[in-house]
Symmetry: C2
Subunit: 298 residues, 2 copies
Amino acid sequence: MKRVLVTGASGFVGRHALAPLAARGFEVHTAGRTACPAAIWHESDLLAPGEAERVMAEVKPSHLLHLAWDATPGSYWTSDDNLRWTATSLALLLAFQQQGGSRAVMAGTCAEYDWSHEVLSETATPLRPRLLYGTCKDALRRAAESFCAQHGVSFAWGRLFYLYGPGEKTGRLVPLVVNTLSEGRELAFSEGRLERDFLHTADAGDAFAALLDSDVSGAVNIASGETVTLRSVVERLAAALGKSNLVRFGARPEPVGEPLRLAADVTRLRGEVAWTPTRTLEAGLADVLKTEITKAKS
Amino acid sequence: MKRVLVTGASGFVGRHALAPLAARGFEVHTAGRTACPAAIWHESDLLAPGEAERVMAEVKPSHLLHLAWDATPGSYWTSDDNLRWTATSLALLLAFQQQGGSRAVMAGTCAEYDWSHEVLSETATPLRPRLLYGTCKDALRRAAESFCAQHGVSFAWGRLFYLYGPGEKTGRLVPLVVNTLSEGRELAFSEGRLERDFLHTADAGDAFAALLDSDVSGAVNIASGETVTLRSVVERLAAALGKSNLVRFGARPEPVGEPLRLAADVTRLRGEVAWTPTRTLEAGLADVLKTEITKAKS
């Protein structure tokens, strides 16, 4: 039987991984502070001393999908929790291996790459994280990959790019645009020239389920494979809300030090994991708007 | 006042750092399972959950010298304790910064480097650890350096090369030779062609004290700067014991997969830390023999 322990299961991506995992025949267990529907919940603050080991002994999973990390908009780049999650992730992995686990997948980030490159590839792009978040993820991957190789535990590392989806935290791009415009306020924006790869969180969750259920090892970019400008994202949202007149492009400068284009090479994801997203950006943004507008009305 | 917390203080290197630290005006505290002379001991199993934080709150040091790690001959290369010490080191560093610590030095290893290079330099040699030990040390350095830079904590990383000294654990080169020959047994050895940089542990401890007491940051090789063949080390020990006739060079093959020469670039250690060893290899080996022979007689 395939039994998976999912951490970060109530999070932005994790909540969308549970149904795809169940559909693939996994018995789904979650560990965290919040219960999730249709999964067996093991209440735990994984950052508390000894908790990773306790939960692992309780669940004894064959598979581990470790998504939990600090993701507070803005502060997560430099949060001290990056150190805590690195340490906890190592404890979790060690306990997983010791009780007989066979395959682990963890969430990495495009911020591990050298952003002076436009197209970020697992096999060709150097790693050069700039801030603590990317550095700790990179450090964790190095240690985890070596440990798993040594013990014959199958291991993959899914590098997430830019995400959007329902329930996104305030302060991120999509909620900023939607909230400002739906309240009838003006949106002062840059020219929106930056190009990024956006993936709906439901697709990201599904991709992690597919990656876990495969035997692909090493780093795998989890992304749509297409870049769009921030301007086009804002334009689509504004048009759908009928508020295009409230957007002021160029009212703010482009962010300093941000690379113009960050594209994901998805050769491994498409070729080896055999996964592609099911949502176009249009459909994905429409889905988010529906959720946000329903929420605003309720 | 300069107050240092030393971990691994009863270890092979740590025991030799305490007197030099005191001589440099540090109030010396140690944390570990064993008390050390002339230091204030805080009994602790640092790998136990919550202990790093508890000890740090108790000592509130301005300086941290973190040497503790698994060093069991042979098994430390792949020991699960590499993961535990990585996690504990991050917890220790976080607690150190949070209570106001200003400078931290940790022990790294020449095994972080790409050993296809003959001369290992902090600034020029790529990092490419082969086994879990070097990988975990490298991962820790990456995370710790980023965290310290972000918080304005001064940080250095002393990469140790090959060490010898009194009290060396059975299974390592010098005790193997001394024990075999002083018991009158034949020593079956390879041709001893490998060239390594050997440093006496008393010099290594003194170098760490000097590094901690400096404001040099980043990785610094801790080594003598000279390589010798293993053959010459064995020959010196055998001659000093009057047992040269018992050594059979070439009776074993050279170890497989070991690079012929690993030299340390000590430009940073000599130029920036302004430190050089006080012992020649001859004097250092004589010191070890005196200790071992005294021990054997008692």
